[in-house]
């Protein structure tokens, strides 16, 4: 995976961030992401992000859980090895509902957590690059992804004109691959080798 240049702008205020997001997008720059200390209402809309499909995935996981529970219990208790529990019928649907519910929730929640980690490119032992540590404290950090043709100085000036208080250019990995990130960083740091 290739390392890329990113232009990182820090904003102190939500009220400054919103018009800046709008202007940066209008000017045709590509916003990689905006990192905020808390969930900012309406920012996804301002960034033009599409609605996540995570909930559709969650529904499918949930249905899978329901089917697994009903299919499993049904096969065991009414088909393969019917037992008499307190004179209840072999197809004792009401008694299965709590387990079906639990399995639906379990499948949906674990499936959604894993999908969420995948979509956010998070995994055990993968160290993600942090653009600015104040993003977890009090700053709104906008990361712009320039193209090879972008004039970085122009972009920096543009961000500054729109209220960014701190601007820097950082090199970071654009995508992710298990483990490779750290290795590449190490190569760059220790030997000055540019990984293509």
């Amino acid at each position: 995976m290739a390392n890329k240049n990113f232009v990182v702008g820090c904003f102190d205020d939500e009220a400054v961030l919103f018009p800046a997001v709008k202007k940066v997008r209008m000017a045709g720059y590509k916003i990689h992401d905006v990192y905020t200390p808390y969930a900012v209402h309406g920012l996804d809309h301002a960034l033009g992000l599409r609605e996540t499909s995570l909930h559709t995935a969650g529904f499918i996981y949930g249905i899978t859980g329901t089917a697994t529970a009903l299919g499993g219990i049904g096969w065991i208790l009414s088909w393969d090895w019917p037992l008499n529990f307190g004179g209840k019928p072999h197809f004792a649907l009401p008694a299965w509902i709590p387990i079906t519910f639990e399995l639906t929730v379990l499948f949906a929640s674990i499936g959604m957590v894993l999908t969420f980690c995948y979509l956010c490119q998070m995994a055990p032992f993968v160290k993600k690059h942090q653009f600015h540590s104040r993003a977890t404290d009090d700053a709104f950090v906008m990361v712009v992804e320039p193209t090879p043709k972008t004039n970085l100085e122009d972009l920096k000036a543009f961000l500054s004109a729109n209220g960014a208080t701190e601007i820097e250019v950082q090199e970071a990995e654009a995508g992710w691959w298990l483990g490779t990130y750290d290795k590449q960083q190490k190569l760059v740091r220790d030997k000055g080798i540019e990984v293509a």
């Binding site: 609605e51 004179g87 209840k88 009401p94 509902i97």
Partner: protein, 412 residues
């Protein structure tokens, strides 16, 4: 602000429709009264008064659900509901009116029908003296306590609701724009809302369903019953609020109430449908599992007897439809789909109340007749007529409410 329509004017069409519904309902009431209500056949009499009873209680409780919604959101320091708060407020003005109607019907059943009625078996003094279970419950199930508690319940709902609405009128006064006045306003709202919630908990969420509805089967009891009734009436109540909001939006009012607010109301409809199902299932499953005859007596004719169809239709309308249709975000933001679901939920819980009451009053045969629909039309007509009037009395937006800005910029 001048271009925004804030003052509701009752459209002629709405008035015509409400009066037409009331006329149809009155016709059904009169025919029903003549053929069943004063019939010498106790069975027909029970059907007529039972029908009146479940309709009046259902519509009283769903209108009272509006005031519960206002008080609960007030106590939670919610701001999002302020832009459409006048709508549930207007619906809650029905509580004294429907309360009076329900009171008259209940009092007639308790004091006027004699002890042979099948509606409240515990009225039969001879039966009670020979029945250990009924004797044990006679401190609670007796006409004196019934009268006292019914008066207290309806009276305090009306009184505290009136107080909340009176407080809300202050939000039309520019004097509230002052910060200290605003703080005091929120505090006074909180006090009255908490009183209402406490009384609501002592009535709708516990004693009132035991007294009015569960005592139709005086030997049977379920600890889930009151919560079940509450969930049923609240989800229908919030659907009613949604319907009125969509109606007003269609007429060009409530400019600041957007699909963000509708989305949150949709979440309430979805969540409380699931909550209702949870209670329905908990009540059913425990009784099914224990399989004790004194408990299964309630479900016997509902699950296996004449009420089978209605009983399972109830689950399909009130659980399967909401969970599948309202689950998606886009569905809760879609006015057409929300209208459809609100009507379906209100109808579904009306069916629920039907089987709760009539399933015990006449367990041997079931079927919704012209009388059920006619009486329901009467209550719907009255509701439209008086809620329209109440909406026209105040501006729809409480402009000087301290949370109004928070509500306008609400984003889900």
């Amino acid at each position: 602000m001048a271009s925004i329509k804030e003052q509701f004017e009752i459209p002629g069409k709405m008035r015509t429709w409400s009066i037409a519904l009331i006329c149809v309902g009155l016709l059904a009431l009169i025919i029903g009264f003549a053929t069943k209500g004063i019939s010498t056949d106790q069975h027909q009499k029970d059907i007529f008064w039972g029908t009146l009873m479940y309709n009046s209680i259902y519509f009283l409780l769903i209108c009272n659900g509006s005031m519960f919604f206002i008080c609960a959101t007030t106590l939670a320091m919610g701001g999002w509901q302020v832009v459409f708060r006048r709508v549930p407020e207007a619906i809650s003005t029905m509580v004294p009116i429907f309360g009076l109607i329900a009171f008259v019907i209940l009092m007639y059943i308790v004091f006027g029908m004699g002890s042979h009625t099948h509606i409240y078996h515990w009225l039969d003094k001879d039966a009670v003296t020979n029945d250990e279970i009924l004797k044990g419950k006679s401190g609670f199930l007796n006409p004196g306590f019934f009268l006292l508690w019914t008066v207290l319940a309806i009276g305090l709902w009306s009184l505290l609701g009136w107080r909340m609405r009176k407080l809300s009128s202050e939000a039309d006064d520019p004097a509230l724009a002052n910060q200290d006045a605003g703080k005091s306003f929120i505090w006074r709202n909180t006090v009255t809302a908490s009183l209402f919630i406490v009384w609501f908990g002592l009535t709708v969420a516990s004693t009132v369903p035991w007294l009015w509805l569960m005592s139709i089967d005086p030997h049977w009891y379920s600890t889930m019953y009151s919560w079940y009734t509450f969930a049923s009436s609240f989800v229908a109540g919030i659907s009613l609020v949604a319907l009125w909001i969509i109606y007003l939006k269609n007429k060009g009012y409530l400019a600041y109430t957007t699909e963000e607010h509708l989305h949150d109301i949709g979440k309430f409809m979805f969540a409380f449908s699931i909550f209702w199902t949870y209670l329905w299932f908990s009540q059913y499953m425990l009784i099914w599992y224990a399989n004790m005859s004194e408990e299964t007596v309630y479900f016997k004719h509902r699950v296996e007897g004449a009420y089978k169809g209605i009983f399972f239709l109830n689950i399909i309308i009130n659980f399967v439809c909401p969970i599948l249709i309202l689950m998606k975000r886009s569905a809760k933001r879609n006015y057409t789909l929300m209208t459809f679901m609100a009507v379906l939920i209100i109808f579904g819980h009306w069916i629920d109340f039907y089987q709760m009451v009539m399933g015990s009053v006449r367990p041997e045969d079931a079927g919704l007749s012209w009388l059920d629909f006619g009486i329901a039309f009467l209550f719907v007509g009255l509701m439209i007529f008086f809620v329209g009037k109440a909406l026209a009395k105040k501006p729809l937006l409480p402009v000087y409410h301290p949370f109004v800005k928070e509500s306008v910029i609400h984003y889900t």
